[in-house]
Symmetry: C2
Subunit: 328 residues, 2 copies
């Protein structure tokens, strides 16, 4: 029997977790829990039950690790501490500024229940954090750069959709190639927000809407667009559906630093992701950390962890001996 | 008082460790141990003693972590197990095929002494291994690619120097740009040795030596050059010293894989290094893992570890709370 995974919440992320479990022979999907009416939720895996979220405690013994697929604004701050009392849990909480507070609440709950919780798992926070931490420990004298894209930003797309006269929209965040090049040279540039990323919007306007006004409202929107060079394209609904259905994303974490007695040698460490599907990649990271949570619990650990607290070998299906022989 | 580091062996790597310690405020160099006559060894740090290796046990209480800077062929297989009985130790053992056997011997010694030993620390094995392991855990259906260079290969340079008529030589390993591009596209290519890397040699020949014969001997040398497209340039000793004094290196670890119910989405994870000084970068990694060894020992752990067994937070000077608030 494999590691039994429960999924709480069945949207893009939950479905991604379901797909990722199928790619890992040592895991199996045990159940999906939903706040919707379970009879209306069709999942992909045959023979796996969908239960109402309100019944979740009944299935405590059928789930080794619960992956909580919810939003960071309201779902996870409430759900992760609650479930951590009774389950080993993984979440992808990504409101950077509120991580310490979320950590403390989840930690208390997980310790009370004797469980492992791993929060803020994904790629940023997640893999990008890991790379920022390791690279800055290796090169303490240097600078960090994070670039996002090219990819769809859900928050920015939503902001455009809220503008009067907009039927639908998709926003891409794009790193500036010249800025990347300068950073990779090791010259340690100071870069403004505008110098690092551009934004590109594909907008479907309602018939008769004032496109000039919409474009101006987008480009001057504070926080979201005003600090960036933004391009706006008006397209048809057919074009949006044909060319912009995917949810690609990615980005770059670059550390440049110096070594040597006179700091005479430069080094550049770069980590990058190019993802066809942002939610499916995030789900794949969640599933690898579910394996880690299962093992850490079995070794008697408890409490809240982040990706920084998890030794990489816990993520791998192979045991230590095999990793040392074939991969190290 | 900082973490007290001892250095065993004072060549390029030992000197690199000395420089790296100066960049980490929580560390101090406690002593250098050498098999040479200590009176003939001048180190960079003022006021730090150089002792004969044979006296090392006398200084057991003055060293929190001993970084063993020796060769993998004969030094480390003997030194690391021996020192692990009395010290927390770090080494950069890099003979991939013999890691399991080295691990077992060091593990037995470290457990006997109640110490932590971290072996095979550096960038390959080391950072590259870490990235191979994590990326393949996240994308279990996919392929791994490791490219090295552009950089100086010491072993290949030595092989050229052993050819009759060669005064000195420098060999660069160069990844093939088209192969990198193909791998990054996610097309999962099968690549031969020749398709992945080329080799470039800069050779100083003795006066009157038969350059045609030297070039042929290089290009047909089994294991080292025969399987590669190799370019040979004859240069003067002045040119070699002017243009090829550095020890740059680097490389790329790329994982491409698929996700989705029908495996319809591609993802590419890439980690790369561009290093002005191979030994100084390796030293910087050794020093970060020395911090980890110190902390793991204080938490009561013991035995042999590799980079795969070390949670990233142990590498960082900041504590968990600060990492979560500022870096995650």
């Amino acid at each position: 029997m494999g590691i039994r995974i429960g999924i709480s919440g069945y949207g893009n992320l939950g479905r991604g977790v379901e797909c990722a479990i199928r790619q890992n022979e040592d895991m199996e999907l045990s159940a999906v829990f939903t706040r919707r009416d379970p009879s209306g939720v069709r999942i992909l895996t045959e023979g796996v039950p969908v239960y109402p979220a309100s019944d979740i405690l009944k299935y405590k013994d059928a789930v080794d690790v619960l992956i909580i697929c919810g939003g960071s604004a309201t779902d996870l701050p409430e759900m992760t501490p609650r479930y951590a009392k009774d389950f080993n849990v993984i979440d992808s909480f990504d409101t950077h500024a509120r991580i310490p507070e979320h950590f403390d609440r989840v930690d208390a709950a997980a310790k009370e229940g004797g469980n492992i919780a791993i929060i803020s798992v994904g790629w940023d926070p997640g893999m990008f954090s890991l790379n920022r931490a390791i690279a800055s420990a290796i090169l303490p004298e240097g600078s960090d750069y994070t670039f996002w894209g090219k990819g769809v930003s859900q928050g920015h797309s939503d902001a455009v959709r809220r503008i009067d006269g907009v039927l639908d929209a998709r926003q891409y965040t794009i790193p500036v190639e010249e800025a990347l090049k300068e950073v990779r040279s090791g010259s340690n540039p100071k870069l403004s927000t505008r110098q690092k990323h551009t934004r590109e919007c594909f907008v479907v306007a309602k018939e008769g809407a004032d496109k000039e006004r919409i474009e101006k409202e987008i480009k001057t929107m504070p926080n979201y667009f005003a600090d960036y060079d933004t391009t706006v394209h008006f397209i048809t609904m057919e074009e949006l559906e044909r060319d912009h259905r995917g949810i690609p994303h990615g980005g770059f974490v670059i550390r440049s630093g110096v070594t040597g007695w006179e700091k005479e040698n430069k080094h550049v460490i770069e980590y990058s992701l190019k993802l066809d599907s942002n939610p499916e990649f995030t789900s794949s990271v969640l599933v690898a950390y579910a394996r880690a949570a299962y093992r850490m619990k079995r070794e008697g650990m408890k409490g809240c962890k982040t990706v920084l607290d998890v030794a990489p070998s816990y993520l791998c299906r192979e045991d230590g001996r095999s990793l040392r022989a074939h991969l190290l």
